[in-house]
Symmetry: C2
Subunit: 518 residues, 2 copies
């Protein structure tokens, strides 16, 4: 799941990306773990049928536990070479957390079921919802022929709501940059930085800062058209004069700074993308390539036994043997299944902790965010328990549309998750009204919500390693004939791309082993 | 035309938007002109048939000179109330600078003709190509039922090429922000800004700067994953260690700062939009609503005479009378047509000067920018005479695609405009190779280029007022029974939205006059 919430809390959580300590600190940590970046599966070669026919070897049978994105990707890649894969999926459908809800769907959580009533063409990506252009996910979209479109991850017309105040994101940014530029420009101009800057540096810096902050002649910030305009320019030049920018102290205490840097990280930077029609187009395409007949749903694994010459997997009412097994389940789910893979594996599986994550989609009969707020896609950042409001990056100018009224994690997600759907909705409407006014509660046609920690056989938005240690490394390799796969085994936790990277990593290892076998 | 080039040179040129002097200076200038922002046509009411039937008045006949976006919009709005409009267009097609080229089109310039050979589905927006979400253009897309999609105006994966060096835009940004943050953070931490900051301000500022620059523990910038990664994160954390960031002096002297702020202005801020299938979808829809039979192409006006009870317009081989006239031609074209509107009008029309602007589209047989550079849409900024390279924001993952190899204005545009199409292409390929290497010259299937200053009856990308003075104000009102319309009569010069704003302004005036007439 592309965790939007993590944009505010990501630093330090997602080891390896945008960590707070800067590059140097991160690399030092990596070096200590023997994880200097030289390995990556960038040069992945999918297994081919020719690998067997040319060597006279036969392929192998593989039991894949979990038909989420990791399991499906592994089956898809192994299938290219003719491996005999069977996927065992505890849920009633493939895809795992890649879940797109549409009208007519039923969503069951521990203790309740929602009947999704969205209108024709309306969908809600309840799980992952955005793709960075460098991610493997986009390669698979290309390979599988899934059309993509832009996901708007940053929109200056959206709002920032902090400490009870709401401003446009562009206003927060213009004011912050304006005052920062002014502070640094004046210090530079007054010679306070002469120890660090040559005369040429100073001149160039002042030139940049003037542009960066839209400074006036005395290197002062006194507002800028970049803040937005009460009247848009037309015959006359428009300008938002009321209210003027607050003071530097006011801007700093408003606490909008985190929202400004929300998309600075490598994984969140614009442009981002989404499949046209819903994220589960990826699942549909993978299932089609893998073959629906290879996926057995409703099968809850009860035991995994690695044998000398294969693996045996048991479930209630059945069992199956295969040459190899790929366990592509969340670690906290896998940890509960009895196995003979040794105590180190058990210890390792117990380390990542599941993260609660929730979303609620509201279908409106009127796209008021476009008509009245001129918000076309993007995200409003808040310090409320809803954390974010997402506006749709598709279906622009349609009659109806779906807004994600919250996307939160951890404590906020637990708070909403514990409520009934109706209560989640009521609370989200009350919160959203603080930003958008009464219209946020009007024209709501239908809604659906998810609390991932309450989804059977998933039980979490994703799993977080408190620290990347030898347990992480241990599970990169097989335990006997059992391999492990999932986004949680990569530096792309919570991203589909992580599941795909991990699947490729395992496929490569498994195929090399088979090719070396006598 | 949405002038990309102006993003680098816009400051000070486009009076009223993002002007260099900050908001205060701009507003002072506006006040001096009596142009305080109170008027705008934001509350525009289109004329209605009921306006006449309810008052017993008849509508009027209107001759509209020029079937560009301004003329078409005026005819469309007047047509809603039943005005009898006739458009006289000197070119062979309606749309003016809103021009989308496709396979099979012929593009004639002074002295030459190009046969456009693009493949199926490939198009080249030779004129305007992007729309800001607050602009009227988007309202018309909604009203006319034209589907829109995101135009990627900012992509950190694109390049900045300055002083012979090429870096990713995200690298330039991360390094610049990193060092700025370090400078200001250290000055703050050392107490050098105590006069300007309270203890609380300082703490908040340091917190923000650490995020903003991705600073390390000693408030130092030593690189960041935001710069991009040589290997993307997967099983291992990826990081671009080679080359490390240059020094502060090196970053400042690289001159990439202008590219960083290129989309900061209100009109260029992400997200931007484009009609699906080509910008001329707007022209097609307007022509359909106005009625093709109302547009007479190939008609070059030779004289405009305002009479007591109407207007007479002459052209080679014909003339026509009407109650009113709207002159929706570029000022430098209109200035050459004899009229009886008085010397002040002549003086005013002579003031705006046409700006040369050029573009060249290259159709490639392979989307190497996606496959190899992971660039999905966006713009590479350069200090070369090509100024910009645009990557397409649509057709992602298709087999072929069209890159805009240059979009330049002023001297650079004149330089390319003076060449034959083949020579323009040769030069653009040589320049693009400096950034993208040999692949920029390979797999080119076809191409087309335009030099707007060489387009008959247009003769410029747009027209620029050296200063907004009383001439600008004069032409906002009619001269006798002749009204003036065009983007050049607004603060949105070079934007279609300006043409639309101006058309509405004139329609409102004209309709009010008709409604007041006896």
């Amino acid at each position: 799941m592309a965790e939007g919430t993590a944009r505010l809390t990501r630093r330090g959580l997602l080891v390896g990306i945008g960590a707070a300590g800067g590059a140097g600190a991160m690399f030092a940590a990596m070096g200590a773990l023997g994880l200097a970046p030289t390995g990556q599966d960038k040069e992945f070669q999918a297994p081919r049928k020719g690998d067997f026919t040319l060597t006279g070897r036969g392929s192998a049978s593989v039991l894949i536990l979990g038909a989420g994105v990791a399991g499906l990707t592994a089956a898809y890649e192994l299938g290219k070479a003719g491996y005999d894969c069977t996927l065992l999926e505890a849920r009633q459908r493939a895809g795992g957390r890649n879940l797109t809800l549409r009208g007519g769907d039923r969503l069951t959580e521990t203790g309740s079921t929602q009947e999704v009533g969205f209108g024709e063409g309306v969908y809600f990506n309840a799980g992952p919802a955005r793709i960075a252009p460098w991610m493997l996910t986009l390669d698979y979209c290309r390979e599988l022929g899934i059309p993509i479109e832009t996901f708007v991850n940053n929109n200056g017309a959206a709002y920032v709501h902090t400490n009870g105040q709401t401003v446009r994101a562009r206003t927060a940014r213009a004011d912050t940059y304006g005052y920062i530029a002014e502070l640094l420009a004046k210090a530079t101009d007054e010679g306070r930085l002469n120890r660090r800057l040559t005369a040429e540096d100073r001149e160039r810096l002042l030139d940049f800062l003037t542009r960066f902050g839209d400074l006036g002649e005395a290197l002062s910030y006194s507002g800028s058209p970049r803040r937005g305009m009460a009247r848009n320019p037309g015959i006359l030049a428009g300008l938002e004069l009321d209210p003027p920018p607050g003071t530097l102290s006011e801007i700093l205490s408003a606490g909008t700074g985190r929202a400004i840097t929300a998309d600075f990280s490598y994984d969140m930077a614009a442009p981002m993308f989404q499949p046209v029609g819903g994220m589960d187009r990826i699942v549909t395409a993978l299932v089609e390539r893998v073959g629906e007949d290879r996926i057995r749903t409703g099968v809850q694994v009860t035991k995994i036994t690695s044998l000398g010459d294969g693996v045996e997997v048991e479930w209630q009412g059945g069992k199956q043997k295969a040459d190899y097994c790929i366990a592509a389940l969340p670690p906290h789910i896998l940890a509960r299944i009895p196995h003979n893979l040794g105590p180190d594996v058990s210890t390792a599986l117990a380390k990542p902790t599941p993260v609660p994550a929730g979303k609620l989609g509201l279908e409106y009969g009127r796209r008021w965010w476009e008509l009245e707020d001129r918000i076309y896609g993007g995200i409003t950042e808040t310090d409320l328990d809803i954390t974010h409001i997402w506006y749709p990056s598709h279906g622009y100018h349609a009659q109806t549309g779906l807004v994600v009224a919250y996307y939160n994690t951890d404590k906020d997600a637990e708070l909403y998750g514990a409520l009934s759907h109706e209560d989640r909705k009521r609370r989200a409407l009350t919160q959203g009204k603080k930003i958008h006014g009464e219209k946020f509660r009007q024209n709501v046609l239908s809604s659906a919500s998810i609390a991932w920690e309450r989804q059977d056989h998933i039980k979490g938005g994703w799993a977080r390693w408190p620290v990347i240690d030898s347990s992480f490394t241990l599970l990169q390799g097989p335990a006997g004939r059992v391999y492990f796969a999932g986004d949680w085994l990569t530096r792309l936790t919570a991203w589909q791309a992580g599941a795909m990277e991990s699947a490729r990593h395992v496929v490569t290892q498994l195929h090399q082993r088979v090719m070396k076998s006598p």
